[in-house]
């Protein structure tokens, strides 16, 4: 069936099988590979995207469920004038190692900062507790999200 998804601001109309997962739609039809797959049980958050601004695990949604809605992936974070403060902060604070969890972590961080511009350490840890990172031990991810919040508050 034919669906239209607004992917990072641009309308994407494609024919999909009803069973196509949103993550596969994004990666193959949308040709955006920044959204990753790390599990098959909705446990890891590597596939996290924003659906109308709310983080969802795109491996657990059908593409047809996103018909007519707006999806933001890591590729959509960048701003016209450069990196999103989260992207800059992840690099500055060494919030990534292999980078596989990073898009999901940043998108959850973006949604958190939208609602809570100055989260505590516990706020951040709770917000990202649906996302697994096997490399960093989370310390610097937490730091990065908080630093981005501080940066966004001053700019």
């Amino acid at each position: 069936m034919q669906i239209t998804v607004t992917l990072n601001g641009s309308d994407q109309t494609h024919d999909v099988e009803p069973r196509t997962l949103l993550v596969d739609f994004i990666r193959t039809k949308g040709e955006l590979t920044g959204t990753h797959i790390g599990c098959d049980t909705t446990s890891c958050g590597a596939c996290t995207v924003l659906l109308d601004g709310t983080p969802v695990k795109s491996c657990t949604m059908l593409a047809v469920q996103a018909d007519g809605r707006a999806v933001t992936t890591v590729e959509g974070l960048k701003r016209a004038d450069g990196l999103h403060p989260l992207q800059a902060a992840f690099k500055q604070e060494h919030g990534l190692q292999c980078g596989f969890c990073t898009p999901g972590m940043m998108l959850v961080g973006a949604a958190l900062l939208e609602q809570n511009p100055a989260p505590t350490e516990d706020d951040v840890r709770w917000a990202i507790s649906g996302n697994i990172c096997r490399c960093t031990g989370y310390m610097n991810i937490v730091k990065a999200i908080r630093a981005a919040g501080a940066e966004m508050a001053t700019s």
């Binding site: 990666r27 590979t33 599990c39 800059a88 190692q97 596989f100 840890r125 989370y138």
Partner: protein, 790 residues
Amino acid sequence: MTLTQKPSTPPEIGGIGHSVRRHEDDRFIVGQGRYLDDHTLPGMLHMAILRSPLPHARINSIDTSAAAAVDGVVAVVTGELLAQYNLAWMPTLSGDTQAVLATDKVRFQGQEVAAVVATDPYIAEDALELIEVDYEPLPVITSPQQSLAADAVLIRDDKEGQTSNLVYEWEAGDGAATEVAFARADRVVSLETHYPRSHPSPLETCGCLADVNSATGQATIYMTSQAPHAIRTVFAMVAGLPEQNIRIISPDIGGGFGNKVPVYPGYVVATAASLVIGKPVKWVESRSENLISTGFARDYHMKGELALTNDGRILALRVQMLSDQGAFYADAQPTQFRAGLFHVVTGSYDFPAAHVQCRGAYTNKAPGGVAYRCSFRITEASYLIERLVQTAAYELGIDPADIRFKNFIQPDQFPYETPTGFVYDSGDYPTALRSALDAIGYEKLRAEQAAARDEGRFVGIGIAHFTEAVGAGPSKKYDILGLKMIDSAELRVHPTGKAILKLGVRSQGQGHETTFAQIVADELGIPVTDIKVVEGDTDNTPYGLGTYASRSTPVAGAAAAVVSRKIADKARKIAAHLLEAADDDIELQNGVFSVKGTPGRSVTIADVSLAAYTNLPDGMEYGLEDVHYYDPPNLTYPYGSYVVVVDVDPETGVWKARRVVALDDCGVRINPMIVEGQIHGGLTEGFAKSSMQWITFDEEGNCSGSNFMDYLIPTAWETPRFELLETCTPSPHHPIGAKGVGESATVGSPAAYVNAVIDAVAHLGVRNIDMPLLPDRVWSAIQSARATGG
């Protein structure tokens, strides 16, 4: 030993000691990393693998006709088909054999039985369900103890001459001297414990994209491999393909931790399918496939005994270890060391005698035995000795810190030869432990612990002081399948003074694109931003054995330093020519060559680079490039002191790490920020294994840790906060004094967490709880200790 080190280059050059922000991050933070699954090729097909639901069974027949008839299915591959190409079996990195697709029997749940190649991954998965396999179940062996019983069914009846399930028997140390020491000892303390089966589970699973050109025979294989060169050689051997026609490309890797070292059947089947079909074939495993079939880690059943004097001086150590190897012996182990470097089990202590006996057994479980953030089984060794020393402290009534101070190898004893044959290069253990204890406020905590006990609260303080042996290794002793464990670096400096460094190793998140550039920057003064690091393409990098066992910095990092020095030597001659001075009068500092005593006369590395292609002294060869193969003279021995404080709920067994202080000495730190990141990650893995993460099997051999709902991995919420400290004892034999660090914290920390929990309940008489320390296990230990009047 110094407490910290200072960079010798300015920040614009960004040499050793600067926390340079990582070059590789620029693509990852915008979603432009290129991992395996992000690659597509024209005409690409997709492969899915059918796996055995049974852990042990004879295969009577496989009917693929219904699957083959599905629209979109291009081929169904079975072991029988592969056998026609002599590909049904393959060698493992330990010199055993492993079935690629099962022909005779399946020997573990999840074993590869058949594969479907289709135009679409969903279709391939659908078709798997239509393959009919007639299995005849066989008795199942789920433990090495069962496996070695006299009446056990023979698992590897495919192997000629194999009459039992014993995989290997191996020993180290001096049995006789150890017996004598035990006979003379005042006290003998023993501990039996199991280091449970674990799985590295990097966030990206394994996979490959094989593209064999049927006209030229050229095979280009994108693969999630930590060791592309070694894999290419093995592929050449397995498939009988000429090595020059195989190109392995390891693209960006989403974490490895040892899981991406072995050759997996999926790689071989996808390559064979591409060869036969003539189109590119992609295979990416699912998470549950990753957990049930690819390289597991640990699964060591260990018994350790210490012979001691009454005042706590260790005289000797005796260890017996039995490992569960699964159905195929697929450890990535140096040939001479069947149990890896487990014999480093004497730890950080000075005593004259040790004897280590190891046996491995086949079971009906997945193969692997990989070094999961660990240098060849050192994690198990470090865990055992640190648990054992702690046990001895309780038995002898000595403080757990004091017994360590009493037995430490002293700074003036290095180089120190251990009773099992390692020569530790350097260290200052007492200072490290003292600093960690001071940071956590040890004495005060002991007082708090006593007061808490009076109130019925359980507080525990756990210590672990580990010594690792990493950087395999010297060619005399270390090889994998005969391939010496050297590594290499090739450096090219271009006419404009910018450089490309190519290495045989492969980063999986460790930040090589930054740290190895920093080594070159430090040596030559080329700014770190002007140096590109290339890895992971066998056509375009020099040979090397790959990234695992914390060997990249000790071996490839050394190669990078040495090749830079070779370039510097030539550059100095060119500078002398440009400055019309004698070679010996030229000094190089921060990228500027000057004439000794006349600092005004100078040229830069950029000037020299241009001259290397335009204006040379007579008789010199053009160009400014070189390659170096580094054969380390010894291993390196990073160490650390970790102290953990836990609160244990006496009524539920739930425990929480209140503080984690980790002091690491990994010699010179190339990039302190990256080193700390590695330690954070390792401390988390250690916490995971001590608290929740393990692969379980039921008695029928069903793997019950086959997904992230059952195989528990700590999230940010459970993971403790870490406080890091450092000392710096440079390795005396490494060109830049570095020792490697990627795995230290995974090696050292499990014993610290477990010792902390045991310490909280030791007054009840509890001496052991096997990992993971799930609340019910802790609770049961408390209950049974109380019941026996502890």
